[in-house]
């Protein structure tokens, strides 16, 4: 059973990773990256790696999106 869960998580991670690369607009990409981070955390949890899953959630859900969105706000403001 756990192997099936890992397989699902692997497919989710591979698909969302590709989606992150293919979405060229950085704003939408930030959200897809959040989804990709969640997939990674789910994969790590399914592989019994609690510590790494927690730090992936924390980095992927809090640190990375916050910084990417703030950078986008600065870059977008600079353009007007």
């Amino acid at each position: 059973m756990s192997e099936a869960v890992i397989a699902v998580a692997l497919v989710w991670v591979a698909a969302s990773g590709t989606a992150v690369v293919l979405t060229r607009d950085p704003l939408r990409q930030a959200f897809v990256a959040g989804f990709f981070g969640l997939g990674l955390a789910f994969l790590y949890l399914s592989m019994q790696a609690g510590d790494v899953a927690l730090s992936q959630i924390v980095v992927g859900a809090i640190a990375l999106p916050l910084i990417v969105l703030l950078s986008l706000a600065k870059v977008r403001k600079g353009r007007e």
Binding site: V58, I62, L66, L70
Partner: protein, 252 residues
């Protein structure tokens, strides 16, 4: 190279790298079939020797403690680098944040949102502190808790405005916590040296397995790393926020 030439060249190179990775990955033992002797030994030894239940924190803070010391300084260097890179330069100035700018009338945050922000922020702080203290027992620990504590500050910004959050994160305090956290890790390591043993060796009583305060120096290191990471990520977020909200470059 032109973009097309680069794409063709990349396709060939990526095919080569794919074959290389394929050959390497094919040599690995099949997925989930192998547990190395080193891992089996540590899984058995960690709990009786270090009186901790979470083997991963025993490995990160004791068996391979010097790795984590350098990992903390990677974070310290990154945060110091970012605050150096994003500092206001001579042709830039700190002006009124956007929500206070004269030509923009932004309604003050409604009390309901402000209350939600306070509740959420205190909840996150509790979760952060709990993650630090339980780092010895369950998955979690200094780094994860530090980021959660830093996010507790930024929930206030989401709920209110820039001026309010500025009060909650004075720069001297954040820099001090960042520096003290990293320095604390070194001091705890030096305890072993001062006691005549080697660097990072455990000189603090081990306590009873399963208790919150058990595992000798591991809870202390967890706490110190939590302080450093909280200060570090708070500085990180405040630098990016300052760049967005406050710092303007005079158009030459």
């Amino acid at each position: 190279m032109s973009r097309r030439a680069r794409l063709v060249f990349f396709a060939v190179a990526a095919a080569g790298l794919a074959v290389t990775l394929g050959v390497g990955l094919a040599g690995l033992p099949s997925f989930g079939s192998q547990l190395t002797a080193y891992a089996r030994m540590l899984n058995e030894l960690a709990s009786p020797q270090r009186h901790v239940t979470d083997v991963v924190s025993a490995i990160t803070f004791d068996y391979r403690g010097i790795d984590t010391l350098f990992e903390e300084f990677i974070l310290l260097a990154a945060v110091a680098g970012i605050s150096v890179l994003l500092r206001p330069l001579s042709d830039e100035s700190r002006q009124l944040p956007e929500d206070k700018a004269p030509n923009r009338k932004i309604p003050p945050p409604s009390p309901a949102v402000w209350l939600l922000a306070v509740l959420l922020s205190s909840l996150l702080t509790l979760i952060g502190l709990e993650t630090i203290t339980h780092g010895v027992l369950t998955p979690g620990g200094g780094f994860q808790a530090g980021v959660i504590l830093a996010s507790a500050i930024y929930v206030i910004y989401l709920g209110t405005n820039y001026a309010t959050v500025e009060r909650f994160q004075p720069d001297p305090l954040l820099e001090a916590s960042d520096g003290v956290g990293a320095f604390g890790y070194v001091v705890i390591g030096l305890l072993g040296l001062l006691a005549g043993d080697v660097f990072l060796s455990n000189v603090v009583g081990l306590g009873v397995t399963g208790n919150l305060i058990a595992g000798g120096t591991i809870p202390l290191l967890n706490l110190v790393v939590g302080v450093e990471v909280a200060g570090g990520f708070a500085i990180l977020a405040s630098e990016f926020l300052d760049q967005t909200a406050v710092i303007r470059t005079e158009r030459r």
